[in-house]
Symmetry: C2
Subunit: 312 residues, 2 copies
Protein backbone atom coordinates (compact mmCIF):
# COMPACT_ATOMS: atom_id res chain seq x y z
CA UNK A 1 0.00 0.00 0.00
CA UNK A 2 1.41 3.44 -0.92
CA UNK A 3 2.18 5.46 2.16
CA UNK A 4 3.55 8.66 0.69
CA UNK A 5 1.86 12.03 0.69
CA UNK A 6 2.06 14.06 -2.50
CA UNK A 7 2.59 17.75 -2.95
CA UNK A 8 2.45 19.74 -6.16
CA UNK A 9 3.50 18.40 -9.52
CA UNK A 10 3.72 20.02 -12.92
CA UNK A 11 0.85 19.53 -15.34
CA UNK A 12 1.65 17.95 -18.69
CA UNK A 13 0.34 19.52 -21.86
CA UNK A 14 -1.12 17.89 -24.93
CA UNK A 15 -0.98 19.35 -28.40
CA UNK A 16 -4.27 19.60 -30.29
CA UNK A 17 -4.63 18.39 -33.89
CA UNK A 18 -7.00 18.25 -36.78
CA UNK A 19 -7.99 14.83 -38.12
CA UNK A 20 -10.57 14.36 -35.41
CA UNK A 21 -11.22 10.82 -34.29
CA UNK A 22 -13.73 10.21 -31.50
CA UNK A 23 -11.11 9.71 -28.77
CA UNK A 24 -9.24 12.77 -29.94
CA UNK A 25 -12.38 14.84 -29.56
CA UNK A 26 -12.78 13.37 -26.10
CA UNK A 27 -9.32 14.53 -25.13
CA UNK A 28 -9.78 17.97 -26.60
CA UNK A 29 -13.04 18.27 -24.75
CA UNK A 30 -11.27 17.61 -21.53
CA UNK A 31 -8.60 20.16 -22.32
CA UNK A 32 -10.65 22.99 -23.75
CA UNK A 33 -14.19 22.84 -22.37
CA UNK A 34 -14.64 26.02 -20.37
CA UNK A 35 -16.15 24.99 -17.02
CA UNK A 36 -18.85 22.85 -15.50
CA UNK A 37 -22.04 24.76 -14.70
CA UNK A 38 -21.37 27.06 -11.79
CA UNK A 39 -22.65 25.75 -8.47
CA UNK A 40 -23.34 27.96 -5.52
CA UNK A 41 -23.02 26.96 -1.88
CA UNK A 42 -26.20 25.20 -0.85
CA UNK A 43 -28.22 27.83 1.09
CA UNK A 44 -30.07 25.09 2.94
CA UNK A 45 -26.98 23.83 4.74
CA UNK A 46 -27.34 24.34 8.47
CA UNK A 47 -24.08 25.85 9.67
CA UNK A 48 -24.63 25.74 13.41
CA UNK A 49 -25.05 22.96 15.91
CA UNK A 50 -28.00 22.55 18.28
CA UNK A 51 -26.53 25.09 20.66
CA UNK A 52 -25.94 27.65 17.93
CA UNK A 53 -22.18 27.12 17.74
CA UNK A 54 -20.81 27.76 14.27
CA UNK A 55 -19.61 24.96 12.01
CA UNK A 56 -15.85 25.09 11.55
CA UNK A 57 -15.09 21.96 9.57
CA UNK A 58 -16.56 20.81 6.26
CA UNK A 59 -15.95 17.37 4.77
CA UNK A 60 -17.04 15.86 1.47
CA UNK A 61 -17.07 12.21 0.44
CA UNK A 62 -17.59 10.98 -3.11
CA UNK A 63 -17.39 7.58 -4.77
CA UNK A 64 -16.02 8.76 -8.10
CA UNK A 65 -16.24 5.42 -9.97
CA UNK A 66 -12.91 5.89 -11.72
CA UNK A 67 -10.99 9.01 -10.80
CA UNK A 68 -9.59 9.62 -14.26
CA UNK A 69 -12.99 9.55 -15.95
CA UNK A 70 -14.42 11.68 -13.16
CA UNK A 71 -11.70 14.30 -13.63
CA UNK A 72 -12.49 14.42 -17.34
CA UNK A 73 -16.12 14.98 -16.44
CA UNK A 74 -15.06 18.05 -14.46
CA UNK A 75 -15.57 16.54 -11.02
CA UNK A 76 -12.84 18.84 -9.73
CA UNK A 77 -14.76 21.94 -10.77
CA UNK A 78 -17.56 20.83 -8.49
CA UNK A 79 -15.05 20.20 -5.71
CA UNK A 80 -13.64 23.71 -6.08
CA UNK A 81 -17.11 25.17 -5.70
CA UNK A 82 -17.95 22.98 -2.71
CA UNK A 83 -14.56 23.74 -1.22
CA UNK A 84 -14.53 21.30 1.70
CA UNK A 85 -11.69 21.19 4.20
CA UNK A 86 -11.25 17.49 3.57
CA UNK A 87 -12.19 15.57 0.45
CA UNK A 88 -12.50 11.79 0.59
CA UNK A 89 -12.79 9.77 -2.61
CA UNK A 90 -13.62 6.12 -3.17
CA UNK A 91 -13.26 3.80 -6.17
CA UNK A 92 -10.45 5.85 -7.61
CA UNK A 93 -9.42 2.84 -9.75
CA UNK A 94 -6.09 4.45 -10.41
CA UNK A 95 -2.50 3.65 -9.53
CA UNK A 96 -0.73 6.52 -7.81
CA UNK A 97 1.64 7.03 -10.74
CA UNK A 98 -1.30 7.28 -13.15
CA UNK A 99 -3.08 10.06 -11.29
CA UNK A 100 -3.98 13.07 -13.46
CA UNK A 101 -1.92 16.18 -12.77
CA UNK A 102 -5.19 18.09 -12.39
CA UNK A 103 -5.63 16.49 -8.98
CA UNK A 104 -2.05 15.82 -7.85
CA UNK A 105 -1.20 19.48 -8.39
CA UNK A 106 -4.29 20.95 -6.67
CA UNK A 107 -2.89 23.70 -4.45
CA UNK A 108 -6.04 23.89 -2.33
CA UNK A 109 -5.14 20.51 -0.83
CA UNK A 110 -1.43 20.34 -0.04
CA UNK A 111 -1.82 17.09 1.92
CA UNK A 112 -2.91 14.20 -0.25
CA UNK A 113 -3.04 10.50 0.55
CA UNK A 114 -3.69 7.64 -1.86
CA UNK A 115 -4.37 3.95 -1.40
CA UNK A 116 -4.72 1.54 -4.31
CA UNK A 117 -5.29 -2.17 -4.80
CA UNK A 118 -2.01 -4.06 -4.63
CA UNK A 119 -2.93 -6.92 -6.92
CA UNK A 120 -5.52 -5.68 -9.39
CA UNK A 121 -4.72 -2.42 -11.14
CA UNK A 122 -7.72 -0.20 -11.67
CA UNK A 123 -9.73 -1.81 -8.91
CA UNK A 124 -11.01 -0.18 -5.71
CA UNK A 125 -8.77 2.56 -4.27
CA UNK A 126 -9.49 5.50 -1.95
CA UNK A 127 -8.00 8.95 -1.41
CA UNK A 128 -8.01 11.72 1.15
CA UNK A 129 -7.15 15.36 0.37
CA UNK A 130 -6.70 17.79 3.26
CA UNK A 131 -6.20 21.51 3.62
CA UNK A 132 -4.43 21.04 6.95
CA UNK A 133 -1.93 18.36 7.76
CA UNK A 134 -3.16 15.41 9.84
CA UNK A 135 -1.12 14.37 12.86
CA UNK A 136 -0.78 10.90 11.39
CA UNK A 137 -2.15 8.91 8.48
CA UNK A 138 -2.50 5.14 8.31
CA UNK A 139 -3.71 2.70 5.65
CA UNK A 140 -5.96 -0.31 6.08
CA UNK A 141 -7.43 -1.67 9.28
CA UNK A 142 -4.47 -3.66 10.52
CA UNK A 143 -5.49 -7.07 9.17
CA UNK A 144 -3.56 -8.61 6.28
CA UNK A 145 -6.64 -10.26 4.79
CA UNK A 146 -8.40 -6.89 4.38
CA UNK A 147 -5.60 -4.52 3.58
CA UNK A 148 -4.58 -5.45 0.03
CA UNK A 149 -7.36 -3.69 -1.82
CA UNK A 150 -6.82 -0.05 -0.92
CA UNK A 151 -10.09 0.42 0.92
CA UNK A 152 -9.33 2.47 4.05
CA UNK A 153 -7.37 5.59 4.95
CA UNK A 154 -7.37 6.90 8.51
CA UNK A 155 -6.22 10.42 9.36
CA UNK A 156 -5.71 11.49 12.92
CA UNK A 157 -6.60 15.10 13.68
CA UNK A 158 -6.26 16.78 17.08
CA UNK A 159 -9.79 16.00 18.25
CA UNK A 160 -10.93 13.09 16.06
CA UNK A 161 -10.03 10.34 13.66
CA UNK A 162 -11.31 10.67 10.10
CA UNK A 163 -11.72 7.29 8.38
CA UNK A 164 -12.68 6.98 4.74
CA UNK A 165 -13.69 3.57 3.45
CA UNK A 166 -14.78 1.76 0.34
CA UNK A 167 -16.49 -1.29 1.85
CA UNK A 168 -16.28 -4.52 -0.23
CA UNK A 169 -19.27 -5.11 -2.47
CA UNK A 170 -20.95 -8.47 -1.81
CA UNK A 171 -20.99 -9.04 -5.57
CA UNK A 172 -23.40 -10.35 -8.18
CA UNK A 173 -24.96 -13.51 -6.85
CA UNK A 174 -23.56 -12.55 -3.43
CA UNK A 175 -20.33 -14.36 -4.29
CA UNK A 176 -18.44 -12.24 -1.79
CA UNK A 177 -21.05 -12.00 0.98
CA UNK A 178 -19.16 -14.34 3.31
CA UNK A 179 -16.05 -12.23 2.97
CA UNK A 180 -18.10 -9.10 3.52
CA UNK A 181 -19.39 -10.49 6.81
CA UNK A 182 -15.87 -10.99 8.12
CA UNK A 183 -15.01 -7.50 6.91
CA UNK A 184 -17.97 -6.00 8.74
CA UNK A 185 -16.89 -7.65 11.99
CA UNK A 186 -13.26 -6.63 11.68
CA UNK A 187 -14.00 -3.12 10.47
CA UNK A 188 -16.39 -2.55 13.36
CA UNK A 189 -13.73 -3.71 15.78
CA UNK A 190 -11.23 -1.35 14.14
CA UNK A 191 -13.58 1.62 14.49
CA UNK A 192 -14.47 0.73 18.09
CA UNK A 193 -10.81 0.64 18.99
CA UNK A 194 -10.23 4.05 17.45
CA UNK A 195 -13.28 5.34 19.28
CA UNK A 196 -11.71 4.38 22.60
CA UNK A 197 -8.92 6.83 21.88
CA UNK A 198 -10.71 9.73 20.14
CA UNK A 199 -14.01 10.42 18.43
CA UNK A 200 -14.38 8.99 14.94
CA UNK A 201 -15.81 10.33 11.70
CA UNK A 202 -16.31 7.52 9.19
CA UNK A 203 -17.23 8.42 5.65
CA UNK A 204 -17.43 6.68 2.33
CA UNK A 205 -19.27 4.08 0.30
CA UNK A 206 -20.34 1.57 2.95
CA UNK A 207 -22.06 -0.52 0.29
CA UNK A 208 -25.25 -1.06 2.26
CA UNK A 209 -28.64 0.60 2.32
CA UNK A 210 -29.55 0.32 5.97
CA UNK A 211 -33.35 0.43 6.06
CA UNK A 212 -36.18 0.21 3.57
CA UNK A 213 -36.31 3.99 3.46
CA UNK A 214 -32.74 3.97 2.14
CA UNK A 215 -33.50 2.57 -1.30
CA UNK A 216 -36.29 2.88 -3.85
CA UNK A 217 -36.94 -0.83 -4.22
CA UNK A 218 -36.54 -2.60 -0.89
CA UNK A 219 -38.85 -5.49 -1.78
CA UNK A 220 -36.96 -6.52 -4.89
CA UNK A 221 -33.48 -6.20 -3.42
CA UNK A 222 -33.51 -8.38 -0.30
CA UNK A 223 -31.32 -10.94 -2.01
CA UNK A 224 -29.10 -8.44 -3.76
CA UNK A 225 -25.73 -7.06 -2.72
CA UNK A 226 -26.20 -3.97 -0.59
CA UNK A 227 -29.54 -4.89 0.95
CA UNK A 228 -29.17 -8.42 2.32
CA UNK A 229 -30.21 -8.99 5.94
CA UNK A 230 -26.56 -9.73 6.74
CA UNK A 231 -25.25 -6.45 5.42
CA UNK A 232 -28.05 -4.45 7.03
CA UNK A 233 -27.40 -6.21 10.33
CA UNK A 234 -23.71 -5.36 10.01
CA UNK A 235 -24.61 -1.68 9.80
CA UNK A 236 -27.05 -1.98 12.72
CA UNK A 237 -24.30 -3.52 14.82
CA UNK A 238 -21.99 -0.67 13.94
CA UNK A 239 -24.56 1.82 15.23
CA UNK A 240 -25.12 -0.34 18.31
CA UNK A 241 -21.39 -0.09 18.99
CA UNK A 242 -21.76 3.63 19.62
CA UNK A 243 -22.07 5.34 16.28
CA UNK A 244 -24.74 7.33 14.50
CA UNK A 245 -25.84 7.70 10.88
CA UNK A 246 -25.59 11.50 10.69
CA UNK A 247 -27.98 11.95 7.77
CA UNK A 248 -30.70 9.77 9.23
CA UNK A 249 -30.17 11.34 12.65
CA UNK A 250 -31.06 14.74 11.23
CA UNK A 251 -33.64 13.64 8.66
CA UNK A 252 -35.31 10.55 10.10
CA UNK A 253 -38.31 10.62 7.77
CA UNK A 254 -36.64 11.83 4.59
CA UNK A 255 -37.62 9.51 1.72
CA UNK A 256 -36.15 9.38 -1.79
CA UNK A 257 -32.77 10.47 -0.48
CA UNK A 258 -30.16 8.44 -2.32
CA UNK A 259 -26.47 8.66 -3.15
CA UNK A 260 -26.18 5.97 -5.83
CA UNK A 261 -28.10 5.15 -9.00
CA UNK A 262 -27.10 2.37 -11.39
CA UNK A 263 -26.19 3.66 -14.83
CA UNK A 264 -28.63 1.12 -16.21
CA UNK A 265 -32.26 1.67 -17.05
CA UNK A 266 -32.05 5.43 -16.68
CA UNK A 267 -32.22 4.95 -12.93
CA UNK A 268 -30.89 8.38 -11.94
CA UNK A 269 -33.41 10.30 -14.02
CA UNK A 270 -36.14 8.28 -12.32
CA UNK A 271 -34.44 8.54 -8.92
CA UNK A 272 -34.39 4.80 -8.53
CA UNK A 273 -31.47 4.87 -6.13
CA UNK A 274 -29.78 3.67 -2.97
CA UNK A 275 -28.26 5.49 -0.02
CA UNK A 276 -24.89 3.79 0.19
CA UNK A 277 -22.66 6.71 1.19
CA UNK A 278 -22.57 7.89 4.79
CA UNK A 279 -21.03 10.07 7.41
CA UNK A 280 -21.09 7.89 10.50
CA UNK A 281 -20.06 9.60 13.76
CA UNK A 282 -19.07 8.55 17.24
CA UNK A 283 -21.98 9.37 19.55
CA UNK A 284 -19.65 11.78 21.32
CA UNK A 285 -19.69 13.91 18.18
CA UNK A 286 -23.45 14.31 18.13
CA UNK A 287 -23.28 17.73 19.84
CA UNK A 288 -20.91 18.88 17.13
CA UNK A 289 -23.14 17.84 14.25
CA UNK A 290 -24.44 20.77 12.22
CA UNK A 291 -25.58 19.24 8.98
CA UNK A 292 -25.19 16.15 6.79
CA UNK A 293 -26.22 16.67 3.18
CA UNK A 294 -26.61 14.72 -0.04
CA UNK A 295 -25.45 16.68 -3.10
CA UNK A 296 -27.54 14.84 -5.63
CA UNK A 297 -27.17 17.39 -8.43
CA UNK A 298 -23.42 16.82 -8.75
CA UNK A 299 -22.69 14.67 -11.79
CA UNK A 300 -19.62 12.71 -12.83
CA UNK A 301 -20.14 9.30 -11.23
CA UNK A 302 -22.91 6.82 -10.51
CA UNK A 303 -22.65 8.07 -6.91
CA UNK A 304 -23.17 11.67 -5.81
CA UNK A 305 -21.12 13.41 -3.13
CA UNK A 306 -22.19 13.94 0.46
CA UNK A 307 -21.06 16.74 2.75
CA UNK A 308 -20.81 17.06 6.53
CA UNK A 309 -20.59 20.20 8.65
CA UNK A 310 -19.21 19.94 12.18
CA UNK A 311 -18.70 22.50 14.96
CA UNK A 312 -15.79 21.05 16.85
Amino acid sequence: MPKRAKKNEEASVEAGNDNKTEPQKKREKRAKEPEAPILYKDPTDKLTNKDGRAANIKMTSWNVDGLRAWVKKNGLDWVRQEDPDVLCLQETKCAEKALPADITSMPEYPYKYWAGSEDKEGYSGVAMLCKTEPLKVTYGIGKEEHDKEGRVITAEFPSYFLVTAYVPNAGRGLVRLEYRKTWDVDFREYLSNLDKRKSVVLCGDLNVAHQEIDLKNPKGNRKNAGFTPEEREGFSQLLAAGFIDSFRELYPEQTNAYTFWTYMMNARAKNVGWRLDYFVLSIALLPSLCDSKIRNTAMGSDHCPITLHLAI
Copy 2:
Protein backbone atom coordinates in the same frame (compact mmCIF):
# COMPACT_ATOMS: atom_id res chain seq x y z
CA MET B 1 -17.18 -20.38 -39.14
CA PRO B 2 -20.56 -18.78 -39.95
CA LYS B 3 -21.79 -19.86 -43.35
CA ARG B 4 -25.13 -18.11 -43.57
CA ALA B 5 -25.97 -15.17 -45.77
CA LYS B 6 -28.06 -12.43 -44.22
CA LYS B 7 -30.88 -10.46 -45.74
CA ASN B 8 -32.71 -7.50 -44.25
CA GLU B 9 -33.38 -7.10 -40.55
CA GLU B 10 -35.32 -4.51 -38.61
CA ALA B 11 -33.40 -1.66 -37.03
CA SER B 12 -33.70 -1.24 -33.27
CA VAL B 13 -34.42 2.19 -31.85
CA GLU B 14 -32.92 3.89 -28.85
CA ALA B 15 -34.68 6.49 -26.76
CA GLY B 16 -32.78 9.70 -26.13
CA ASN B 17 -32.46 11.14 -22.62
CA ASP B 18 -31.21 14.08 -20.68
CA ASN B 19 -28.62 13.44 -17.94
CA LYS B 20 -25.81 13.41 -20.49
CA THR B 21 -22.83 11.23 -19.66
CA GLU B 22 -20.00 10.96 -22.19
CA PRO B 23 -21.05 7.57 -23.58
CA GLN B 24 -24.62 8.77 -23.86
CA LYS B 25 -23.51 11.69 -25.96
CA LYS B 26 -21.57 9.22 -28.08
CA ARG B 27 -24.70 7.21 -28.73
CA GLU B 28 -26.80 10.26 -29.47
CA LYS B 29 -24.16 11.45 -31.88
CA ARG B 30 -24.44 8.23 -33.78
CA ALA B 31 -28.21 8.49 -33.90
CA LYS B 32 -28.70 12.15 -34.68
CA GLU B 33 -25.69 13.52 -36.50
CA PRO B 34 -26.88 14.54 -39.93
CA GLU B 35 -24.42 13.05 -42.44
CA ALA B 36 -20.74 12.71 -43.15
CA PRO B 37 -19.39 15.32 -45.55
CA ILE B 38 -20.73 14.60 -49.01
CA LEU B 39 -18.25 12.84 -51.27
CA TYR B 40 -18.49 12.89 -55.03
CA LYS B 41 -17.37 10.17 -57.37
CA ASP B 42 -13.69 10.58 -58.02
CA PRO B 43 -13.44 12.23 -61.45
CA THR B 44 -9.95 10.86 -61.94
CA ASP B 45 -11.11 7.24 -62.01
CA LYS B 46 -10.41 5.71 -65.40
CA LEU B 47 -13.56 3.88 -66.41
CA THR B 48 -12.33 2.11 -69.54
CA ASN B 49 -9.75 -0.57 -70.15
CA LYS B 50 -6.80 -0.27 -72.56
CA ASP B 51 -9.05 -1.07 -75.50
CA GLY B 52 -11.65 1.48 -74.50
CA ARG B 53 -14.16 -1.04 -73.20
CA ALA B 54 -16.29 0.40 -70.40
CA ALA B 55 -15.86 -0.67 -66.79
CA ASN B 56 -18.84 -2.69 -65.63
CA ILE B 57 -17.82 -3.81 -62.17
CA LYS B 58 -16.66 -1.75 -59.22
CA MET B 59 -15.25 -3.23 -56.03
CA THR B 60 -14.16 -1.61 -52.79
CA SER B 61 -12.03 -3.07 -50.01
CA TRP B 62 -11.58 -1.51 -46.58
CA ASN B 63 -9.92 -2.62 -43.37
CA VAL B 64 -12.38 -1.01 -40.98
CA ASP B 65 -10.48 -1.73 -37.73
CA GLY B 66 -13.63 -2.58 -35.79
CA LEU B 67 -16.84 -2.53 -37.76
CA ARG B 68 -18.98 -1.16 -34.93
CA ALA B 69 -16.74 1.83 -34.30
CA TRP B 70 -16.45 2.38 -38.06
CA VAL B 71 -20.24 2.41 -38.44
CA LYS B 72 -20.49 5.01 -35.66
CA LYS B 73 -17.95 7.09 -37.54
CA ASN B 74 -20.29 7.06 -40.56
CA GLY B 75 -18.24 4.67 -42.66
CA LEU B 76 -21.47 3.54 -44.30
CA ASP B 77 -22.20 7.04 -45.56
CA TRP B 78 -18.96 6.93 -47.47
CA VAL B 79 -19.86 3.50 -48.82
CA ARG B 80 -23.22 4.78 -50.07
CA GLN B 81 -21.46 7.57 -51.95
CA GLU B 82 -18.85 5.25 -53.39
CA ASP B 83 -21.56 2.74 -54.24
CA PRO B 84 -19.44 -0.25 -55.31
CA ASP B 85 -20.98 -3.45 -56.62
CA VAL B 86 -19.09 -5.44 -54.05
CA LEU B 87 -17.82 -4.23 -50.68
CA CYS B 88 -15.16 -6.24 -48.85
CA LEU B 89 -14.31 -5.44 -45.23
CA GLN B 90 -11.49 -6.66 -43.03
CA GLU B 91 -10.92 -6.55 -39.27
CA THR B 92 -14.61 -6.37 -38.52
CA LYS B 93 -13.89 -7.53 -34.95
CA CYS B 94 -17.53 -8.35 -34.50
CA ALA B 95 -19.54 -11.51 -33.92
CA GLU B 96 -22.34 -11.93 -36.45
CA LYS B 97 -25.03 -11.54 -33.80
CA ALA B 98 -23.47 -8.26 -32.64
CA LEU B 99 -23.53 -6.61 -36.07
CA PRO B 100 -25.20 -3.16 -36.11
CA ALA B 101 -28.58 -3.09 -37.85
CA ASP B 102 -27.26 -0.18 -39.95
CA ILE B 103 -25.24 -2.67 -41.98
CA THR B 104 -27.25 -5.88 -41.72
CA SER B 105 -30.31 -4.08 -43.03
CA MET B 106 -28.60 -2.26 -45.92
CA PRO B 107 -30.93 -2.81 -48.89
CA GLU B 108 -28.26 -1.89 -51.44
CA TYR B 109 -26.48 -5.15 -50.64
CA PRO B 110 -28.96 -7.99 -50.34
CA TYR B 111 -26.21 -10.62 -50.27
CA LYS B 112 -24.04 -10.39 -47.21
CA TYR B 113 -21.42 -12.82 -45.92
CA TRP B 114 -19.62 -12.72 -42.60
CA ALA B 115 -16.69 -14.60 -41.14
CA GLY B 116 -15.49 -14.14 -37.57
CA SER B 117 -12.82 -15.61 -35.33
CA GLU B 118 -14.04 -18.80 -33.67
CA ASP B 119 -11.98 -18.58 -30.52
CA LYS B 120 -11.37 -14.92 -29.77
CA GLU B 121 -14.40 -12.65 -29.94
CA GLY B 122 -13.67 -9.25 -31.38
CA TYR B 123 -10.56 -10.40 -33.23
CA SER B 124 -9.99 -10.43 -36.97
CA GLY B 125 -13.09 -11.08 -39.10
CA VAL B 126 -13.96 -10.26 -42.72
CA ALA B 127 -17.14 -9.55 -44.65
CA MET B 128 -18.37 -9.37 -48.23
CA LEU B 129 -21.46 -7.45 -49.33
CA CYS B 130 -22.76 -7.95 -52.86
CA LYS B 131 -25.40 -6.37 -55.03
CA THR B 132 -25.76 -9.55 -57.09
CA GLU B 133 -25.77 -13.04 -55.71
CA PRO B 134 -22.58 -15.07 -56.12
CA LEU B 135 -22.84 -18.58 -57.55
CA LYS B 136 -21.18 -19.91 -54.43
CA VAL B 137 -19.49 -18.61 -51.29
CA THR B 138 -16.88 -20.42 -49.22
CA TYR B 139 -14.98 -19.56 -46.05
CA GLY B 140 -11.31 -20.09 -45.30
CA ILE B 141 -8.69 -21.70 -47.53
CA GLY B 142 -9.38 -25.33 -46.77
CA LYS B 143 -6.76 -25.85 -44.09
CA GLU B 144 -7.81 -26.35 -40.48
CA GLU B 145 -4.79 -24.55 -39.10
CA HIS B 146 -5.65 -21.35 -40.98
CA ASP B 147 -9.41 -21.32 -40.94
CA LYS B 148 -10.33 -20.53 -37.34
CA GLU B 149 -9.73 -16.80 -37.40
CA GLY B 150 -12.26 -15.59 -39.97
CA ARG B 151 -9.72 -14.31 -42.47
CA VAL B 152 -10.95 -15.32 -45.92
CA ILE B 153 -14.21 -15.29 -47.87
CA THR B 154 -14.31 -16.50 -51.48
CA ALA B 155 -17.23 -15.71 -53.77
CA GLU B 156 -17.56 -17.37 -57.12
CA PHE B 157 -19.03 -15.21 -59.87
CA PRO B 158 -19.66 -16.34 -63.45
CA SER B 159 -16.29 -15.24 -64.80
CA TYR B 160 -14.04 -14.96 -61.73
CA PHE B 161 -13.44 -15.73 -58.10
CA LEU B 162 -13.42 -12.84 -55.69
CA VAL B 163 -11.33 -13.51 -52.59
CA THR B 164 -11.16 -11.10 -49.69
CA ALA B 165 -8.50 -11.67 -47.05
CA TYR B 166 -7.15 -10.32 -43.81
CA VAL B 167 -3.65 -11.78 -43.79
CA PRO B 168 -2.18 -12.59 -40.34
CA ASN B 169 -0.03 -9.84 -38.87
CA ALA B 170 3.49 -11.03 -38.00
CA GLY B 171 3.11 -9.28 -34.64
CA ARG B 172 5.21 -7.13 -32.34
CA GLY B 173 8.66 -8.62 -32.15
CA LEU B 174 7.69 -10.81 -35.10
CA VAL B 175 6.24 -13.37 -32.68
CA ARG B 176 4.01 -14.73 -35.41
CA LEU B 177 6.35 -14.48 -38.39
CA GLU B 178 6.90 -18.23 -38.60
CA TYR B 179 3.17 -18.80 -38.73
CA ARG B 180 2.84 -16.08 -41.32
CA LYS B 181 5.33 -17.84 -43.58
CA THR B 182 3.29 -21.05 -43.57
CA TRP B 183 0.18 -18.94 -44.23
CA ASP B 184 1.83 -17.26 -47.20
CA VAL B 185 2.73 -20.65 -48.72
CA ASP B 186 -0.69 -22.17 -48.16
CA PHE B 187 -2.61 -19.08 -49.22
CA ARG B 188 -0.60 -18.84 -52.44
CA GLU B 189 -1.36 -22.46 -53.16
CA TYR B 190 -5.05 -21.82 -52.51
CA LEU B 191 -5.12 -18.89 -54.93
CA SER B 192 -3.15 -20.79 -57.58
CA ASN B 193 -5.65 -23.62 -57.43
CA LEU B 194 -8.56 -21.23 -57.86
CA ASP B 195 -6.72 -19.59 -60.74
CA LYS B 196 -6.63 -22.91 -62.57
CA ARG B 197 -10.41 -22.90 -62.66
CA LYS B 198 -11.25 -19.20 -63.19
CA SER B 199 -9.56 -15.83 -62.94
CA VAL B 200 -9.08 -14.49 -59.43
CA VAL B 201 -9.50 -11.08 -57.85
CA LEU B 202 -7.87 -10.96 -54.44
CA CYS B 203 -8.47 -7.95 -52.25
CA GLY B 204 -7.88 -6.98 -48.67
CA ASP B 205 -5.29 -6.20 -46.06
CA LEU B 206 -2.35 -8.37 -47.11
CA ASN B 207 -0.29 -7.02 -44.22
CA VAL B 208 2.85 -6.42 -46.28
CA ALA B 209 4.35 -3.41 -48.00
CA HIS B 210 5.94 -5.00 -51.03
CA GLN B 211 8.72 -2.63 -52.02
CA GLU B 212 10.47 0.36 -50.55
CA ILE B 213 8.14 2.63 -52.52
CA ASP B 214 5.23 1.13 -50.59
CA LEU B 215 6.00 2.69 -47.24
CA LYS B 216 7.37 5.99 -45.99
CA ASN B 217 10.11 4.52 -43.84
CA PRO B 218 11.61 1.46 -45.52
CA LYS B 219 14.98 1.76 -43.78
CA GLY B 220 13.59 1.70 -40.28
CA ASN B 221 11.10 -1.10 -40.82
CA ARG B 222 13.13 -4.00 -42.19
CA LYS B 223 12.76 -5.85 -38.92
CA ASN B 224 9.15 -4.87 -38.32
CA ALA B 225 5.99 -6.75 -39.12
CA GLY B 226 4.81 -5.91 -42.63
CA PHE B 227 8.21 -5.19 -44.15
CA THR B 228 10.43 -8.15 -43.29
CA PRO B 229 12.30 -9.81 -46.19
CA GLU B 230 10.22 -12.93 -45.58
CA GLU B 231 6.88 -11.17 -45.94
CA ARG B 232 8.04 -9.19 -48.98
CA GLU B 233 9.33 -12.38 -50.55
CA GLY B 234 5.98 -14.02 -49.91
CA PHE B 235 4.30 -11.29 -51.92
CA SER B 236 6.90 -11.54 -54.68
CA GLN B 237 6.23 -15.24 -54.94
CA LEU B 238 2.52 -14.63 -55.22
CA LEU B 239 3.13 -12.33 -58.17
CA ALA B 240 5.54 -14.89 -59.64
CA ALA B 241 2.74 -17.44 -59.48
CA GLY B 242 0.79 -15.48 -62.07
CA PHE B 243 -0.74 -12.48 -60.34
CA ILE B 244 -0.36 -8.71 -60.57
CA ASP B 245 -0.52 -5.86 -58.10
CA SER B 246 -3.13 -3.77 -59.91
CA PHE B 247 -2.22 -0.43 -58.36
CA ARG B 248 1.48 -0.77 -59.00
CA GLU B 249 0.78 -2.08 -62.49
CA LEU B 250 -1.00 1.15 -63.36
CA TYR B 251 1.11 3.54 -61.29
CA PRO B 252 4.61 2.04 -61.21
CA GLU B 253 6.33 5.23 -60.04
CA GLN B 254 3.68 6.60 -57.71
CA THR B 255 5.28 7.49 -54.36
CA ASN B 256 3.56 8.43 -51.09
CA ALA B 257 0.61 6.21 -51.95
CA TYR B 258 -0.43 4.47 -48.76
CA THR B 259 -3.49 2.76 -47.36
CA PHE B 260 -2.54 2.53 -43.68
CA TRP B 261 -1.25 4.98 -41.11
CA THR B 262 -0.71 4.10 -37.47
CA TYR B 263 -2.90 6.12 -35.13
CA MET B 264 0.24 6.98 -33.23
CA MET B 265 2.43 10.03 -33.66
CA ASN B 266 -0.04 11.81 -35.92
CA ALA B 267 1.17 9.59 -38.76
CA ARG B 268 -1.77 10.13 -41.09
CA ALA B 269 -1.55 13.93 -41.01
CA LYS B 270 2.12 13.56 -41.95
CA ASN B 271 1.37 10.78 -44.47
CA VAL B 272 3.78 8.45 -42.76
CA GLY B 273 2.06 5.36 -44.09
CA TRP B 274 2.19 1.91 -45.60
CA ARG B 275 0.49 0.38 -48.65
CA LEU B 276 -0.91 -2.79 -47.10
CA ASP B 277 -4.22 -3.09 -48.97
CA TYR B 278 -4.31 -4.45 -52.50
CA PHE B 279 -6.31 -5.61 -55.44
CA VAL B 280 -4.27 -8.50 -56.81
CA LEU B 281 -5.45 -9.96 -60.11
CA SER B 282 -4.82 -13.08 -62.15
CA ILE B 283 -2.71 -12.08 -65.13
CA ALA B 284 -5.62 -13.15 -67.31
CA LEU B 285 -7.58 -10.19 -65.91
CA LEU B 286 -5.02 -7.62 -66.98
CA PRO B 287 -6.94 -6.74 -70.16
CA SER B 288 -10.02 -6.08 -68.01
CA LEU B 289 -8.27 -3.69 -65.65
CA CYS B 290 -9.55 -0.12 -65.87
CA ASP B 291 -8.38 1.49 -62.66
CA SER B 292 -7.15 0.72 -59.17
CA LYS B 293 -7.46 3.62 -56.73
CA ILE B 294 -6.59 4.55 -53.17
CA ARG B 295 -9.31 6.59 -51.46
CA ASN B 296 -7.10 8.25 -48.89
CA THR B 297 -9.57 10.96 -47.91
CA ALA B 298 -12.06 8.48 -46.48
CA MET B 299 -11.87 8.46 -42.69
CA GLY B 300 -13.14 6.04 -40.08
CA SER B 301 -10.26 3.59 -39.68
CA ASP B 302 -6.49 3.52 -39.57
CA HIS B 303 -6.74 2.11 -43.11
CA CYS B 304 -8.40 3.84 -46.03
CA PRO B 305 -10.50 2.07 -48.67
CA ILE B 306 -9.29 1.08 -52.13
CA THR B 307 -11.45 0.70 -55.24
CA LEU B 308 -11.08 -1.36 -58.42
CA HIS B 309 -12.81 -0.88 -61.77
CA LEU B 310 -12.96 -3.82 -64.19
CA ALA B 311 -14.40 -4.23 -67.67
CA ILE B 312 -15.28 -7.89 -67.79
